[in-house]
Subunit: 418 residues, 2 copies
């Protein structure tokens, strides 16, 4: 069987990691193409990859193509032109609908790392997948086309961690706490680790969480706890709405509570609160001296490019799932997690860990798709699949993971200082 | 002698107070005209004044004229057209140069409340008056035209307070501390009490102060003290560069130290620091989605209009001068000050005290000019004039003042709570 041609859409930090790793594992794929709107970014990534992995080899390791991923015709044309069989959408999540439709049209397998967003709509009702993704599911099933939704780290690997615990460790799951801590330091006054649009929005919105088997909305930053995680120490984490709750609540119907927690420092929240209180996180354009400008776009223009943070970024991240439930009638608590190190990731692929931890799962999944191991022939959330092949493959691609049984009293047996 | 026609330029908060007070004291003037760029603002102020002071009288109390005050031809034409003899410049200080030149051209007396600024130039070298104002002084002298610079409260009344202390209370002045505290509350998350452009800039710039008989530059917010002032209680005030230092240093050449202090709350400084650290106080345009926008202009567009703060503003302000020196060889310390009450000022003229305390001195001075009491026939800073007529007249127009001898140990004999 011919190896499938791979198309990666998006030239941000995740696109850079994904392209690097695709080239590193290029034996699994046919041609490899990186496409995005900004040709300068594409060529910069391609040149970096050629220098990093090309050796004395002058033959280009990947091709680049400029594309407007929000134009359905351009996307479909590009997939057909390349005869791409696997499309990895690591572009802005404003592009999801057109890329999904282009895959449905062409039969290429689709994968993304975040759910579709509309830049002018905030605080949508749950479940968030019911607007763009799920209405298209019957068509993917009918045409037997693969679509893997939310296959970064969180969402993505954390969903697979939940599937692993359900398969191997617990008979019943009572509570899932997904915890994401970035203990790294980029040395800037303030920066977002990924697209400022999306990042500020997820902090800005009301928190939609799953409690007592139902959706519950609470004010942002109103619920927090202190956790002590492996290699990063003690951090305050805040309950936040996040993609994975929107599918886990459906795929773990007997689990009454599923919560996502993210670590924020006081300084980060202070800056965010000032921006938000002044209306500077709004996507609604205002008139300034005769021109219309969306405040959040100006803020984005002033903030550092997330990719630029990578050089000199120090420290580690820890993302994991704290799961409580019962095995053979006995109460149990497990923590299952990964760490990444900003400096090590930068040395390897020129990116910081937030991008790295998203791109590694993408290529791990792409390899399983290329090998035919992942082939549901419909649209799926990744917790619906067998977790074992993925978790066996991910360490080879670049991120190890661990699982440990923890005390039932909620304490953490790790050092408080990183 | 015919009463002089009055032209007020500027329809912000100070323009509103100035126009109200001009109408209240209209017996001193011929025609009264309010001119600015924004016709809506002009008509709103005119309608408010007519309702407030017109009684059953249908005859308009003042006229309004749309003008671009940064256009020399328009300004000169307007003054000629109205046969204005006194021009009160309470517009943005970006307009000073054209209005000065139009007065010089037409012979009308000129008055302003703040020195000229260029929106794209920050941190200019002292003395700040040496760029736009002082180079024009010989021409004003030659043509025997009046120009009164910096005749609001600070600069303005505080300069006159210094002249009063020199004339009546001290033989030698060793130190002048000008202190400005707004203990009012407008109930908004964050707002500037006057033009956001100018306000954020004066907080943003390095602090230029007068010490040991020379200009000294220190980082902003780096020097502070706690003071307890009449009717407003204890507040932290920060050393800041301010217009009046630039002329007092010249006109009080034997005074080794002249410092300006302004009160800021922690919250205000925090918001300012976030905005400034992110580049949002910059006047240099950046490109956002294909259009050019100055960040400080977007922030201004999002902040409340200073005039809109007036309704519901509570609390008081205190602006005064703490002067140390010697009388008959004996060390002495005097505090000379005024208070204003936001609510009382709003009831009277629909404005908050920051605008009120600037507009009252403007009309007090305009009355002295109309009466021929102030007629230097050249360009002056107001501390060069006899302080007595002004200080006798100001309480009639709306603001009382007091002077008190204070302990030499630097303590304040006023209640700590407002």
């Amino acid at each position: 069987m011919a190896k499938p041609n791979l198309l990666i859409v998006g030239a941000g930090g995740v696109g850079q990691v994904t392209a690097n790793k695709a080239v590193q594992f290029r034996d699994d794929f046919g041609t490899i193409t990186l496409a995005a709107r900004n040709r300068d970014k594409l060529e910069k990534i391609a040149a970096d990859i050629q220098a990093r992995w090309g050796g004395a080899n002058d033959e280009p390791l990947l091709s680049v193509r400029a594309v407007n991923a929000r134009d359905p015709g351009e996307m479909t044309g590009l997939i057909r032109d390349l005869d791409a069989k696997i499309v990895l959408n690591v572009a802005s999540s404003y592009c999801n609908a057109t890329i999904l439709d282009a895959c449905l049209e062409t039969g290429a397998s689709y994968l993304d790392t975040a759910l579709a967003e509309d830049e002018f709509i905030e605080n949508i009702d749950p479940p968030w997948y019911s607007y763009v993704e799920w209405p298209r599911r019957p068509k993917f099933a009918e045409k037997k086309v693969n679509a893997f939704l939310g296959m970064g780290f969180d969402p993505g690997v954390v969903n697979i961690f939940c599937a692993y615990v359900r398969k191997h460790l617990l008979d019943e799951i009572d509570a899932i706490d997904i915890i994401d801590v970035n203990a790294g330091s980029h040395g800037r006054y303030f920066a977002t680790n990924f697209d400022a649009d999306i990042n500020l929005r997820e902090i800005k919105e009301d928190v939609i969480t799953w409690e007592e088997g139902a959706w519950k909305t609470i004010p942002r930053h109103s619920q927090w706890m202190d956790v002590t995680l492996p290699q990063v120490g003690t951090h305050r984490v805040y309950s936040m709405g996040h993609d994975e709750l929107q599918s886990l609540a459906v795929n773990f119907p007997d689990t009454p509570r599923i919560t996502f927690w993210m670590g924020f420092g006081e300084h980060y929240l202070n800056v965010f609160n000032v921006l938000d209180s002044l209306g500077l996180t709004s996507s609604v354009p205002v008139e300034v001296d005769g021109v219309k400008v969306a405040p959040n776009r100006l803020v984005k223009a002033l903030l550092p490019d997330p990719a630029s943070l990578a050089e000199g970024y120090t420290g580690k991240i820890c993302i994991g799932v704290d799961v409580r439930g019962r095995k053979d009638g006995k109460e149990k608590r497990f923590f299952i997690w990964s760490n990444c190190d900003h400096e090590a990731n930068f040395r390897e692929v020129g990116s910081q860990s937030i991008s790295y931890s998203t791109g590694i799962p993408v290529i791990t999944a792409a390899r399983l798709i290329a090998d035919g191991i992942w082939n549901p022939q419909t649209m799926v959330h990744v917790e619906e699949l067998d977790p074992d092949p993925f978790l066996a493959a991910m360490p080879q691609v670049g991120i190890d993971w661990q699982v440990e049984e923890l005390p039932l009293d909620g304490s953490w047996p790790y050092p408080e200082e990183a």
